[in-house]
Homo-oligomer: 423 residues x 2
């Protein structure tokens, strides 16, 4: 039977690739997910799944732990859950979750091909969101399909989720939780190179707005350029990042990682005139931190660092700093590698790849935290090999997606069990 599932996916290779191509060709940047979600809804409907489509109710969601301050408000900004209920349940329930939102493309001139016109070359499918994570969504849809292809159906509830806002708040996944979706396991096929995620860092986003004391550059000695001031603050924040990466401060899962804590200056904007000292500079920062640390404590550390930098540098005494928090306020989390869930997934991985899985402590956050920390649903990430996610010429390995789809199918068989379809 396992062999038949694997073969069924092998046979559906073209449909799988077509599905990824279709998904990548639909731009689903933040606030623009609607067309892609329509496509997903259609896919789910054509598989006779019950459809639940719903937006984020911030007033309600705010009360939940794990909520992150929103960074905007959009029309038609909805999650889709495709619900499968078996006729004769006997196995354990499962959530297959992926996010539909993709990150901005960066400077489009740097792409070999336009980011939303996917192309295939040397076994890789290129385009924004190909790896992160439309291939993953396609992989679990095709894994689900494979049962019917060989006359079977899974024997437990399966929830196929396509969510928004994974890349900025995680409020999409949290809204699924609030709506009642829990299961005995959740797999998120994030593009983590066929590893099983063992842990992930926490992430805080913040907007550091710095006001200087401006003047004509003629009098530059007597003013403070907000851009230069902001950069001094940023340099000192990075020393905090070095401290946090210190091996003696790390949870065991991260003991062998290369600097898993990253601080990133992702966006900067400041000044108005080449010959004037800038009055204002704004930096959008992404701060990583280890599991077990609370975001409130991260915020305190950041604010203390900035205050101290200003105190210790008299030339910065004119700076005014305004910290605004929008986006991720997301704790890190650890995955229980001894759980039956992870052991089962490992076994399925081995059955397809003939190798033990590697475990991966992620330097990024994912929606897995929401399931693990607040959803009573053991979750991990397990997805295909990809390159340049969030970068230029992002791509995913097609062979790897097929493998992931096969592992997920086998996992469904093991975890949810299955019944023969009545003719």
């Amino acid at each position: 039977m396992i062999h038949d599932l694997i073969q069924a996916i092998e046979d559906q290779k073209d449909s799988l690739v077509k599905l990824i191509l279709d998904l990548v060709s639909i731009n689903s940047l933040l606030g623009n997910e609607d067309h892609a979600q329509n496509f997903i809804e259609e896919q789910f409907r054509s598989r006779s799944l019950a459809i639940d489509r719903f937006g984020i109710n911030h007033d309600e969601l705010k009360k939940y732990p794990g909520y992150s301050p929103s960074i905007g408000d959009w029309e038609n900004h909805e999650n889709i859950v495709g619900i499968f209920k078996p006729e004769k349940p006997k196995g354990r329930s499962l959530i297959l979750n992926g996010h539909i939102d993709v990150v901005p493309v960066g400077d489009e001139r740097l792409w070999t091909n336009p980011p939303f016109e996917p192309t295939i070359k040397d076994g890789h499918l290129y385009g924004r969101g190909s790896g992160d994570m439309k291939a993953g969504i396609a992989a679990f849809i095709v894994a689900f399909d494979s049962f019917k292809k060989i006359g079977l159906e899974p024997a437990a509830d399966i929830f196929l989720q396509s969510v928004v806002e994974e890349e900025c708040t995680g409020n999409g996944a949290l809204a699924c939780l609030q709506r009642g979706y829990k299961a005995q396991a959740a797999i998120i096929p994030e593009p983590f190179n066929e590893t099983i995620m063992s842990a992930q860092v926490g992430v805080l986003w913040l907007n550091m707005e710095v006001f200087g004391k401006p003047s004509h550059v003629l009098n530059a000695n007597h003013g403070t350029n907000a851009i230069e001031g902001a950069f001094v603050l940023w340099q000192h924040l990075k020393s905090l990042c070095e401290d946090w990466n210190n091996k003696k401060n790390r949870p065991a899962a991260f003991s062998n990682s290369e600097d898993p804590i990253k601080f990133n200056l992702g966006i900067i904007e400041g000044g108005e005139w080449a010959s004037s000292l800038a009055t204002r500079c704004q930096m959008n920062l992404r701060i990583g931190f280890f599991p077990g640390i609370h975001t409130e404590d991260v915020i305190k550390s950041i604010e203390k660092n900035i205050t101290q930098t200003i105190q210790n540098n008299p030339e910065l005494s004119d700076l005014k700093v305004n910290l605004l928090y929008g986006g991720f306020q997301s704790q890190g989390c650890l995955v229980d590698l001894e759980s039956d869930f992870v052991k089962t997934l490992s076994k399925c991985h081995t059955s397809i790849t003939n190798a033990e899985p590697d475990f991966f402590a992620s330097a990024a956050t994912t929606d897995a935290r929401t399931f693990n920390l607040y959803g009573d649903t053991p979750a991990t990430c397990y997805g295909p090999k990809a390159r340049n996610i969030h970068g230029i010429d992002e791509c995913v390995s097609i062979n790897s997606v097929i493998k992931i789809s096969q592992v997920i199918a086998v996992f469904i068989a093991e975890w949810c069990l299955f019944n023969r379809l009545s003719k």
Copy 2:
């Protein structure tokens, strides 16, 4: 007679202040000078000056030395010259020049009062452009008026110029030159605190566009953040600035100045997403350099510095840098302090203030270079005391503007001579 001129300006104090208030209340940011120029035209017409109003013809002006690459194209973006021709000429001709354009206000929240709603407090008139340099324009208009008030008229050609683009290219003043306006002297009442300008630096504007090798911050060790890369380049450029300020490299006029060469990072913009390495960062830089150095050599030095920084820092090897030149490509210049012009102006200053004038080597550029280098017209700046030009809460001393107006009136009498008005 001199006493009468001085008294006439004293008597016109209220009109002078009213004129500055009116001018400052008209926003004349780059590209938006039309309303202010209409007001100036009206002022000139009411004084029976002949009016010449004309735009900048870039195709023609480009051929002139001193032209700077334009940074935009605007409708109704014109210079105004008010032309006075005496009935019986006997003195030397004079240009009184001021620029109508003002620089951006910076973050408006930092202003005590809105920048285009001028206010008066403690003898100072506040608002964007109050010092730089609407007070100066008002000062020379009222100086011109004072002759008629006491039944006289100047006895040489006087050209009252209100020009655009002093703050970004100097092409406004250059267009006056191209149109044929020259004179035996030119005074620009820039807000240089009642000093006579002895020299000014050269200024180059450039736009440094940096492309990084982006990726998810997760893989930050294997990417190059364009913002961080651009900042490393900028830090190294600043060491060039230190070299150039070295006392042994300076023209005599600048020997006692505190670091007259300034490099300024005026505008920055980069990145798109807090959790992605920035693919692109753009910095608008203002580079100062000493008189006698050609802009082409400055450009070579800048480009060499950037190339070397990249060569010497292997972590920057992925950066691509694109240098775009728009705005100032303006040589520095020296003012001949032994000229009859400057000696006469000095004498007039002393006659009003009872003190020898201070001479000022300016760390900024002004339109004086255009007259001196390309216009066969000896020019300097001599204007009122002001604070926070290009900054927040810019203001000008009202008493100082009156003094400047008086000195200019006395200078007109000395330089242009005068006749009694026929009744």
